[in-house]
């Protein structure tokens, strides 16, 4: 039971301080669940990949998945789908309830102070921090577990190449039949998965 209280507390904090959207939230999630050892670094990366490929906000997706997986990782007594479902319900509610209450009960306050400049000032202070939060999530994922799990140098270079090509596809619009198109992240993940299968199987 103790673990579920920790899980709720962790996701309440993510819900209260999660400014700047899904990617910025990732660094909070990673600190909250990877650092105490609730899930592994690779599991976290996999959850981000799965969140990208399924509908819905990444904040909900990761809360549901981690809430399901973490109990059995933390304690063998909590193995079983009912413990997992309990965890995913609690984590998902905990990440949504704070902003739900804030939207319901402080909208008037925000509306009144929007013109005063105070809200704008707070967000002008948050904006550069959010860039740093997203960057920190990226940096923390650039680890051996993701790039070189078996300590084999050709695999490391292959993975760096996959990362570099994926970045080019994700960031730049690719010219195609006279038009410039942006490749959808889902397609990039599928291509990387196929590449992984062909190289590592």
């Amino acid at each position: 039971m103790n673990f579920y209280l920790k899980l709720i507390w962790a996701y309440l904090k993510i819900g209260i301080f999660g400014f700047g959207g899904g990617y910025a939230m990732l660094s909070l999630v990673e600190k909250a669940v990877v650092t105490p050892g609730w899930i592994s670094e690779t599991m976290f990366t996999d959850i981000v990949a799965i969140s990208q490929m399924t509908p819905g906000p990444i904040g909900i997706n990761s809360a549901t998945y981690i809430g399901y997986v973490a109990p059995q990782v933390v304690s063998p007594e909590l193995t079983g789908w009912w413990w997992g479902i309990l965890g995913s319900i609690l984590a998902t509610l905990a990440v949504t309830v704070p902003s739900f209450l804030l939207v319901l009960y402080s909208s008037h306050f925000i509306r009144r102070h929007q013109e005063s400049g105070a809200i704008k000032a707070i967000f002008s202070g948050l904006r550069p921090v959010v860039v740093g939060l997203i960057a920190s999530a990226a940096i923390m994922l650039m680890n051996n577990a993701n790039f070189n799990p078996k300590g084999i140098s050709w695999q490391l270079w292959t993975n760096i190449a996959i990362c570099a090509i994926s970045f080019v596809l994700a960031y730049f619009a690719i010219p195609f039949k006279g038009k410039k198109i942006k490749i959808h992240p889902i397609l990039i993940i599928i291509l990387a998965g196929i590449t992984g299968f062909l190289i590592y199987y």
Binding site: F19, P57, L133, S136, Y171
Partner: protein, 190 residues
């Protein structure tokens, strides 16, 4: 506003939750299309007002906007129904995946583990891209460009309390507010 029954609110937001990939802004444009253009529940100005409020709240943007639209249509009950509708599809889909795709299978199934080995470096790339996009959108100047650098460095160093992202969110908010107060104060002196 007479066609906004709780059931219709629920199914509308459920569909939005079930069919929009990418969350956040992808969802907002679909919500706008359904709520403003299709059902005429709220006019566009009111929607943009709700969006501005939802954006200034922490948490998940799509849920925030669902909460405020539901509240506007049917009060607290409407806000609960709209939020649940938005959350449920991803919750159920992820739960189904989590039940079958356990950490053990990802690790020990040869096909699946090889696929994920290829996917992981690509995921990192998908997070580097929004670093650059958000840095551009934040219009960083020489005066502010050090902030994301310090924040990213401190958080990724993994040094306990000073590596806690929440610390920098609070500092950023206080800093923005403090500078504004200070400039107000200086203005009033002149």
């Amino acid at each position: 506003m007479n066609n906004s029954s709780l059931w219709l609110i629920f199914t509308t937001f459920f569909k939005i939750g079930a069919f929009t990939f990418g969350g956040g802004w992808a969802m907002i444009s679909i919500i706008e299309r359904e709520i403003v253009d299709k059902y005429h529940w709220i006019d566009r100005d009111d929607f943009l007002d709700l969006l501005a409020i939802a954006q200034s709240m922490p948490g998940i943007l799509a849920v925030n906007i669902a909460t405020s639209v539901g509240d506007k249509l049917r009060g607290t009950r409407g806000s609960i129904i709209a939020s649940l509708g938005t959350i449920l599809p991803s919750f159920l889909i992820i739960l189904a995946i989590a039940i079958f795709l356990t950490p053990d299978i990802i690790k020990n199934n040869r096909v699946i583990s090889s696929i994920f080995m290829g996917i992981r470096p690509a995921v990192v790339a998908l997070i580097i891209a929004p670093v650059i996009t958000s840095a551009k959108a934040a219009k960083l100047k020489w005066r502010t460009v050090w902030i994301p650098l310090v924040v990213a460095l401190m958080i990724s160093l993994d040094m306990g309390a000073v590596s806690n992202p929440i610390l920098y969110i609070v500092l950023g908010a206080l800093g923005g507010f403090g500078i504004w107060k200070w400039s107000q104060h200086n203005l009033s002196k002149k």
